[in-house]
């Protein structure tokens, strides 16, 4: 008899609370959109945060409320995106696919100013007088970008320059942020013409250290039929909103600084 009292008390207490909670969960049920679960199911679920949302669930909520485009998720496949679009009854608005482009073609063509014996790391080398290269604007060639790329899209070439694999690059921006010389930008994949130099030095100073640097000769600016390229602060800059990729500047450039991506 004595053992029954505690058992009954606790059991009843538990039963009471359990039923209370069950009732409360019915009464205070919050209706969630059934589409939300479906969208979450279609997303990769790795919560990488590349979309700018707080994980995949946050992204799904933002997509559902129309705050974000479906295409913001760089990781999920096109099929999954199409399915999400059909769930929402929306058309898939595709963002232009971009890839990372290196604005330097110096590499081994540029000599070293001094013997750098520190860590084989661009960020570290950049701390020493802005790196060992004669050109303080250009690529240091230690391959930080190759190491940071999560998609294995960047490989260092024999010329001491990183080469971006357009098929593998997902425009995740990691190399853009890491490069101490800020040599990478994300360029629409539809525009193959780019300026392979970042030097803002005067033309004669540039050509003294690098045979392929921009010497600010204004030939590209003059020949461009759509007014898409301008020399700003001793460096040619392409406006990709206007560029038609006609390639006239590529032919006109005397130092072959303006290049066409293969």
């Amino acid at each position: 008899m004595e053992i029954l009292i505690p058992i009954l008390t606790l059991g009843l207490l538990g039963l009471l609370f359990g039923m209370g909670l069950a009732l409360a969960s019915k009464k205070f049920a919050v209706k969630t959109d059934p589409r939300l679960d479906k969208i979450v199911g279609l997303l990769p679920g790795s919560n990488c945060g590349a979309c700018g949302g707080a994980g995949c669930f946050g992204f799904a909520e933002a997509v559902l409320s129309g705050k974000m485009k479906i295409d913001k998720c760089r990781v999920s496949s096109d099929v999954a995106k199409e399915e999400i679009a059909t769930i929402l009854g929306r058309k898939l608005e595709k963002d232009l696919k971009k890839i990372a482009v290196l604005h330097c073609y110096g590499g081994i063509r540029v000599k070293d100013r001094f013997l750098y014996q520190g860590l084989k790391d661009c960020v570290a080398a950049n701390l020493v007088l802005g790196g060992q290269k004669e050109c303080v604007w250009g690529c240091l060639g230690f391959g930080d970008c190759e190491r940071v790329c999560p998609f294995d899209a960047i490989k260092m070439s024999g010329e001491g320059l990183p080469i971006v694999d357009a098929n593998k690059c997902k425009a995740c921006n990691k190399c853009v942020l890491l490069c101490p010389k800020k040599l990478f930008t994300l360029v629409p994949i539809t525009h193959p013409v780019y300026v392979a130099c970042s030097s803002h030095d005067l033309g004669k100073d540039t050509i003294a250290v690098c045979p392929v640097g921009c010497i600010a000769c204004y030939k590209c600016e003059k020949i461009c039929p759509v007014d898409a390229i301008h020399v700003i602060d001793n460096l040619a800059v392409i406006d990709y909103n206007k560029c038609t990729s006609c390639g006239k500047c590529v032919e006109a450039c005397p130092t072959k600084t303006i290049r066409r991506r293969e």
Partner: protein
């Protein structure tokens, strides 16, 4: 029941026996959420609310259920039951009635469900304000007030900790002790300094 009693409870709960720095209860949330002041204060508010409410509810359970049936040895499990149910209920109600507040508290409410500080204050109340299984006069008010004060003590520790950690973000700290190791070191130094309050006697 007198003002002096309440003052004693206040000072001992906030300073002398600070729930985190002297009693070492609720340390997980103390270390995890004290990185920035704003979420730390949100968590403190939530804790204060829950400690107060659970003090009140557990007092009723203890006074009218456990004591009369002679089941005081069951207080741990029954308090846990009550607190967990209560927090769940509060979460549901908040979620339904105020989505803004729900988003504000976010993960903190479920975290409190199993926070030992909340159980600690309930057990403490039943220890301090019940003598030989009989409630001392005014024990209900004392219990509720102690609930508030323990929450205040928690908030004080969180405020101090988050303030220190926010400033430390700007310091050049060796990589080996960055973040959590440093937080533990700071917590121990703070705990030592709170030991100084132990000299107070009433």
């Amino acid at each position: 029941m007198s003002i002096a009693q309440f003052l004693t409870i206040f000072i001992s709960a906030v300073f002398i026996y600070n729930v985190i720095l002297s009693r070492f209860l609720g340390l997980c949330s103390f270390v995890a959420i004290s990185r920035e002041t704003k979420p730390a204060m949100a968590m403190s508010l939530a804790v204060m609310f829950v400690t107060t409410m659970s003090s009140i509810i557990t007092w009723f359970i203890y006074r009218f259920l456990l004591v009369p049936f002679g089941l005081t040895y069951l207080r741990t499990i029954s308090f846990i039951l009550v607190i967990a149910t209560f927090v769940q209920l509060v979460e549901m109600v908040i979620r339904k009635t105020s989505p803004a507040l729900y988003r504000f508290f976010g993960i903190y409410l479920p975290l409190i469900t199993v926070n030992c500080a909340v159980l600690g204050v309930a057990v403490l109340n039943s220890d301090m304000f019940f003598i030989n299984g009989k409630a001392v006069p005014g024990s209900f008010y004392y219990s509720a007030f102690q609930g508030v004060c323990v929450g205040l003590g928690y908030a004080l520790a969180m405020l101090l900790m988050s303030g220190i950690r926010e400033r430390l973000d700007f310091c050049d700290v060796p990589k080996t002790v960055k973040d959590f190791p440093l937080a533990f070191i700071i917590a121990s130094i703070m705990s030592l300094s709170f030991l100084g309050f132990n000299g107070f006697r009433f």
